[in-house]
Symmetry: C2
Subunit: 669 residues, 2 copies
Amino acid sequence: MKPSEGRARVVVEDVEPQVDCGRFPVKRVVGERVQVTAAIYGDGHDHVAARVLSRPAEEAEWRSVRMQALGNDLWNAEFTVDAIGGWDFCVEGWVDHFDTWVSDLGKRIAAQPVAGETRGQETREDLQLAFRTGAALLQRLSASAPKSDVAQLNEFADSLLRLAEGTDASYSDPVTDEIKELVERNPDLRFSTKSADFHVWVDRERARFSTWYELFPRSSGEPGTHGTLRDAARSIPSLASQGFDVIYLPPLHPIGKAFRKGKNNSAVAETDDVGSPWAIGGSQGGHTALAPELGDFKDFDELIRVAQDSGVEIALDIAFQCSPDHPWVKAHPKWFSIRPDGSIQYAENPPKKYQDIYPINFESEDWRSLWRELCDVFLFWAKRGVRIFRVDNPHTKALPFWEWCIHEVQKKYPDALFLAEAFTRPHVMYGLAKRGFSQSYTYFSWRNTKDELTSYMNELTTLPVRDFFRPNLWPNTPDILPEVLQKGGRAAFMQRAILAATLGSSYGIYGPAFELMDHLSVREGSEEYLNSEKYQLRSWNRDREDSLMPLLGILNQARRSHPALQRNDTLRFHGVDNPQLFCYSKRSEGDVILAVVNLDTANAQTGWTGLKMEELGLEPDEQYEVHDILSGETYSWNGPHNYVLLDPAKMPAHILHLRRQGSTNEAST
Amino acid sequence: MKPSEGRARVVVEDVEPQVDCGRFPVKRVVGERVQVTAAIYGDGHDHVAARVLSRPAEEAEWRSVRMQALGNDLWNAEFTVDAIGGWDFCVEGWVDHFDTWVSDLGKRIAAQPVAGETRGQETREDLQLAFRTGAALLQRLSASAPKSDVAQLNEFADSLLRLAEGTDASYSDPVTDEIKELVERNPDLRFSTKSADFHVWVDRERARFSTWYELFPRSSGEPGTHGTLRDAARSIPSLASQGFDVIYLPPLHPIGKAFRKGKNNSAVAETDDVGSPWAIGGSQGGHTALAPELGDFKDFDELIRVAQDSGVEIALDIAFQCSPDHPWVKAHPKWFSIRPDGSIQYAENPPKKYQDIYPINFESEDWRSLWRELCDVFLFWAKRGVRIFRVDNPHTKALPFWEWCIHEVQKKYPDALFLAEAFTRPHVMYGLAKRGFSQSYTYFSWRNTKDELTSYMNELTTLPVRDFFRPNLWPNTPDILPEVLQKGGRAAFMQRAILAATLGSSYGIYGPAFELMDHLSVREGSEEYLNSEKYQLRSWNRDREDSLMPLLGILNQARRSHPALQRNDTLRFHGVDNPQLFCYSKRSEGDVILAVVNLDTANAQTGWTGLKMEELGLEPDEQYEVHDILSGETYSWNGPHNYVLLDPAKMPAHILHLRRQGSTNEAST
């Protein structure tokens, strides 16, 4: 079948950025530039022109920016996404007959016969015909041009016609830059070719740059008491002052009593055991209720207010699973799997049984109401002022649900952010990110060696992954006390915090377990905490002298002062001649941070760096200053090779702010 | 908006092979296998299953083949394209509840309580419930199963129910392989996920493996006479006997008289000058007429018959451009560009003028009739028995036209093949291939050094290019007498023929200029032949003693005998410790050809090979025989390092057939 317009001779292909052929949006944060490239070409020798059209999805008008030829049929242009929400863009290419004519005219004029010479091949008649051709092109453009340009287009057409009828002995090029601009403003798009529309999802900046602190409100009270939301609120200002900007709370809902787990996950709870916050739902309600022991909605509103006053956000944990006591179990038994005996299927990994948890059945015939109700949970808390959600095990819920649900929430709250707790296989983690999760937990918790960290961070911070997946690096979580923290002592905690805070523009810790270096596991070989807060109250002495909070405060302050640490796309790895020393840098415009970390938690290590000077914005043999943000010391370095000594007993890393000699570029450190 | 079926929990992505996100078909030849891979996963721990569906485009029924898990959520399967024409395929994935159940059941049975022991966690009641669950799954499958399987499904469901009601002391696994196969035949596809349909274009084998010889019929006659189609026909049997299978003829149409070019492209023709066959059209007709001086349609039919009898095909040159005398010029002036003075625009590259040629205007408002007429040219000759077309400068005609036209011709003649003479930029060459050209000329003519040949042939024979672009390697054409042939003497002709015939499964030469080593250019620095046949008659003494035809015959025979030389996807490069020696291999099942070529046309070169033994199907230190197809000699080689001496004065290459010791695998050489 013939196309509807066979005269569209230009091909537009390989449009970037795109995720899965445009099936999913590319992610950006507000104010960022989207660099668009495409292969654009036509047949024959006619010149081609192209532009990028972009717009916020709800606007009708496209914004246009002309593309530049990079050579070899590749073109590029960029546009800035200046509002959060969905954006569309596409690439349009066309044959630029006027530009071809201008180029040919230049050659014709150069080949005019000159009195007394015979170098030319273009006769006066040839040139006069060329002027008439140009005039016709301009007249065609003026037919579709806006009023403001019509007169000028016609005027130039007329001047060409006068030239064609004149008796000049020789001609000089009549095409001024003004004319070129005029024509560029009025392209002949009758036979243009447009790519498909591609999509960008634009988040607020916190999607890219965030510093998380997880705490259990019930352990925030006086020792021996059940802490409350009010207690949690009291700890916020100090956390905010240390530079954390997202305070993440485990589920606050009523906890089920049926099959409640006891301390250290024992199968039978004592009567005074508080239960796991993830066994959601009781007689007082489910995912939109508060556990009475934590407080009421007045307390919750107060918590949100305190957070706002402190300039931080509360992130809630949304875990779609139910205790047998959850109201949904009675009201909507169809949302669960029913066993042949009529009972509801509890969570099971044969032969292990988790009878305190009913998973939701995403093959429910009533899936439409189910999706609606689950989505309404987010909307409920969003209405209460929550805009960040940490989603528990999203990979055990249907992926099409997430794509719909996140979109549905962001339609109403475009500033809503979602962190996926998807500790699962790479395809599934990336699949969730493509479907809308703003950030994701990663394998960072288990990447320790230089090779492991380099290859994993490379994967996360380069294309295609970085266009849809934003890592959030956690040295620990209530479920993950990695071996390095169990066995590496204080140095390990310092090293892992430094790596997380500088490798990732988003990172988080589970505290106070982290800063107080809680490192005992429930048993050898397990990553579960002994006396985990998941199953019991803990009491923490936040004022302990050896707390790592001062270090965390310095790291967080550096992250705020240095734009380089607020992004991941400029992460580069440098050489060091010692496998225990790990060296990398980040840049943002003139701001350059270089980190060297000793990965050996037991011994001092020394080595010589092998810096990629160009990646640091330095000349190959340049002399420069490095200011260590951690120690406050400043060194004079020279070229790529510099001596480093790092003693984990003191400080396992340098975080160096580079200062070029005589440069006035000094970020506040 | 919710999807229409929210229970389709499986994700299917990254389906390969595909070209430009499925926008264009992947190319294969009949009998080849299509290896399909995809990333397939769902949520949670349920097992996933998948299949590939494929069919010839005109069939309604899909053929199904089950995919195998490769790990890390990647799956694969293959199907054979056993007919020429268009094919579709897609990938379908679903949650395999029965397979999950089987796997869980195995764990449950292993965890049964055993008399006198307490190792188990699964009670008799747990297991009985599991059997009932299995029975329910089977009953569900039987509801949609074909009659032949219903009884057996129900029977096994019943047997599970009996187990559930029985009083066995302990259970053993009741799921036999027979049951597994039965269930695999009857998947539960209610909530399956299908990828988009992807497309394959399947050509006959000659699309992949062809040996071309270009000749000018008008130079095939007795010296001093204008040769005819009958003369050309007489040369076919001997070319066929030397292993050529496509005889390609420049345009056979009436040649225009207006602005006819003379010998050596001189601007003014003498009265007896024969003109360029590419200045198409005169009073006797255009693209569907024969130049009377060549003969009539009876002669043409005879030519086709002789070719068929000789087992070769005639390829015609289709050049969409017109002499001012072409009938279209009067009948359809709108198909050309009109200048402001009402005259038709001739071809021009200012200040150069080609007044003997009118290019076609693909922005004609009458483009629909134009496209139809151009397409009818192919159909006209196809009806006369021609199935291979060499298309002149396709990159100066609109790309959308080609996509439509080739498809239109192949709808009627699925065995039609098109060779693109697209000597242009890579994107454009690839764009034409994607739009349907079966083969394309390449830059091979100008790739001479080891690095140039390696990187270019790597690009052409690996993904993504090899899935849509089939190279045809030409050492010379009537337009291209490369410098190496002008200056390198006989050794250069030998070397270039050997490279073309062994690097490319399709290659061609323009003869007799090639085998008679015509090497004089019209002037220094030009690639145009002196006294080019494009503008005058030539007379060739094909029986010259120094003709390279015997070498070409040996090469072509080797190509026929060795399947390894009939494909490009197995091309691999090997080391040699001399930059002038170039070593590569091709394989097809057990057939392995290894070539070593001396790229220095002046001096003997020696070196030691560094063979990638695994690529040759050999053990690292294996001893093997190599039989030189060119010299007839056989050497005993050992491991990767073997000594080579190649003297261009004798023979610039080894083409070695590998024979493993004691192997009976001996292709006829």
